[in-house]
Amino acid sequence: MKEHDEFVVDAEKRTLFDWQELWYYKELFYFFTWRDIKIKYKQTALGFLWAILQPLLMMIIFTVFFGRALGVPSQNLPYPVFVLSGLLLWNAFSSGLTSSANSMLNNAPIIKKIYFPRLIIPVSSILVALFDFIMSFALFIILLIFYKQPVSLNVFWCWPVALLITLIATLGPGCLLAALNVKYRDFRYIIPFLVQVLFFLTPVIYPVSVLKYPLLQYALVMSPMYAAVELFRYPLTGVEINVTFMFISLLAGVMILIVGLVYFKRTEDYFADFA
């Protein structure tokens, strides 16, 4: 008999994370993600093209209003390149956060009937957002070629790390909100509002340097997405990275991740009773 087959359920003892079990269920991550991607683009005439069209349209709108009309500075990049570089990660974050926060409720019928590590659900929602990211990343590359934008060799570590930070920044609040949402349905209304506020707090459509007050700058870099966006743009702009800001932002991300995962895990057992 294989070792994972034996298990003990004990009312007295609870483990925090059973990595072995998560590994055992690895295929389910894939299946949840695969299902959600399929469903997302079923019965749409344009299908996966939407993953490209959405950021493209947003980029055009922001370029017209902020780049042209308001003349927001863009760290010496063409404004479309500037804004899309931010939007890429931002969209991954916001759609990942929104869908993972609602994921537990949306999958309540499954949660009530079948056991598997619940963490699979919010994580898969984030992986769906990652899929959209990859689609729109192709658009970004085309844009870079179109503007003949020079890119430094740092891309090879900056972009993957920025993406990793984005995933961490999404997973923490995603798990936290997913768990809270099961218990208090109020969060369903808080989430869109929260995402909207965070959008303006993250330097997607403007560089942090436009803010004249240092205190305000410190407030902004508390957002974990600051580090991701800044690092992603670094190979393009060459603007020196503010190490303090970066550190604050990363620390915030890791802290939220820990809080989110621990809270999720602690309430996980009772999802079936609450959902």
């Binding site: 087959d5 034996e6 003990v8 299946f31 949660i111 598997f116 057992d269």
Partner: protein, 392 residues
């Protein structure tokens, strides 16, 4: 031999809070510290002191009335909800079928649903691929494999769902009442499949109201009553014991969130076979008048076989509606059932929730001797009394 499943002093407590809505809202949470009166809530032990062992290859039946704790036990065994106290040791992969077709999505095709559902049930992708053809041919939906599930009939969906489940190969399989649905032919096929599974040496825990299915499938049976084990022994012994006990008088029962079944009377005093029987059903409700879309009285044999329904959909306008009660009164003409005990159930659609309660009450029907000859004993007479008249 070590048991494949050990259950030690399992208990589960639910807190029933009398909140207005089923779930907490943040506002309620925030004002709670400022509230003067204590919040009304009470503890409810759905299960207490449940201990039993299951040995490899055994098939165990779990029976008991509604609310005896069967579903809670299954949920704990399948790790869906944790026990409040106690311990479970399982030495093998457990797969549980608390419903068939969990996670089926109407937008996905049959093929896609097989993969997703199979994976949810704990199959590896490789396993699903090797079993795929068998699953499809067992379900009989080959032609519609690449059609979205939403275009399937409910029967086809069910067949597909059961077929995926039928090819699970865990050491222990937990099954909840899944056979209660589907057409008779498919039910037979499923039961046969389950017998194969149990013969192949795997362990089955089977919860059902259908006592004859339990008798057929299970060697030992657990009888639950009010959250405790009332009896655990050979299936035939337990079933006989269970059948001897009459259902106590109807207690108030919640049908949906807002509606309770408060009373049901079936006949007055003794009911004799082939007579006309007055019935009345009282429902009470709070606040708003419920919308009733379906309402049928069901008669079962004690073994859970459905004998007849009394379809009241045509008579909604004849129900008596008062400010907090709905009263249904009428007569069943010529109740031609063979003497014996029967169970009364209710099928309802209230406020767009469709549900069924299977064991509201047990009724005894007395014989109505119409012939001068000695009657056969009831066990040879089936369930229906028919009379014969000479051609004149």
């Amino acid at each position: 031999m070590k048991p494949i499943l050990e259950v030690h002093e399992l208990a589960k407590k639910y807190r029933i809070s009398h909140l207005s809505s089923g779930y907490l809202s943040l506002r309620e949470r925030m004002v709670r510290p400022f509230r003067l009166q204590k919040e009304e809530s009470e503890d409810f032990w759905a299960l207490r002191d449940i201990s039993f062992d299951v040995y490899p290859g055994e098939s165990i039946g779990i029976i008991g009335r509604n609310g005896a704790g069967k579903s809670t036990l299954l949920k704990i065994l399948s790790k869906i909800t944790p026990p409040t106290r106690g311990r479970i040791i399982s030495r093998g992969r457990i797969a549980s079928l608390l419903e068939v077709g969990t996670g089926f999505h109407p937008e996905l095709t049959g093929r896609e649903n097989i993969f997703f559902n199979g994976s949810l049930l704990g199959m590896k992708r490789r396993e699903i691929e090797t079993r795929f053809d068998e699953i499809v041919s067992f379900s009989g939906v080959e032609k519609f494999l690449d059609t979205p599930l939403k275009h399937y009939s409910s029967g086809m969906q069910l067949r597909l769902a059961f077929s995926v489940a039928a090819f699970l190969e865990p050491e222990t399989l937990i099954i909840d009442e899944v056979l209660a649905v589907g057409d008779a032919d498919f039910q037979r096929k499923c039961l046969g499949k389950m017998e194969d599974v149990s013969k192949s040496g795997r362990t089955i825990l089977f919860v059902s109201h259908d006592l004859s299915a339990v008798e057929k499938l299970c060697s030992r049976t657990v009888l639950l009553q009010a959250g405790t084990i009332h009896m655990i022994a050979n299936t035939s012994e337990v079933v006989n014991h269970y059948l001897q006990k009459k259902t106590p008088a109807v207690t108030e029962r919640e049908l949906t969130k807002n509606v309770w079944l408060t009373n049901i009377t079936f006949g007055t005093g003794r009911i004799t076979s082939c007579s006309t029987v007055p019935i009345s059903i009282a429902l009470s409700y709070e606040s708003k008048l419920p919308v009733i879309t379906e309402f049928c009285l069901i008669i079962y044999t004690l073994r859970g076989y459905r004998v007849a329904i009394i379809d009241l959909r045509d008579y909604f306008k004849d129900f008596e509606y008062t400010s907090n009660q709905i009263l249904v009164r009428g007569l069943i003409l010529n109740l031609n059932l063979v003497q014996g005990d029967y169970q009364i159930g209710l099928h309802f659609g209230i406020d767009y929730i469709v549900g069924e309660v299977q064991d509201i009450a047990t009724i005894a029907i007395d014989d109505n001797p119409q012939t001068s000859i000695q009657r056969y004993s009831p066990q040879y007479r089936g369930v229906m009394e028919l009379s014969f008249k000479k051609d004149s």
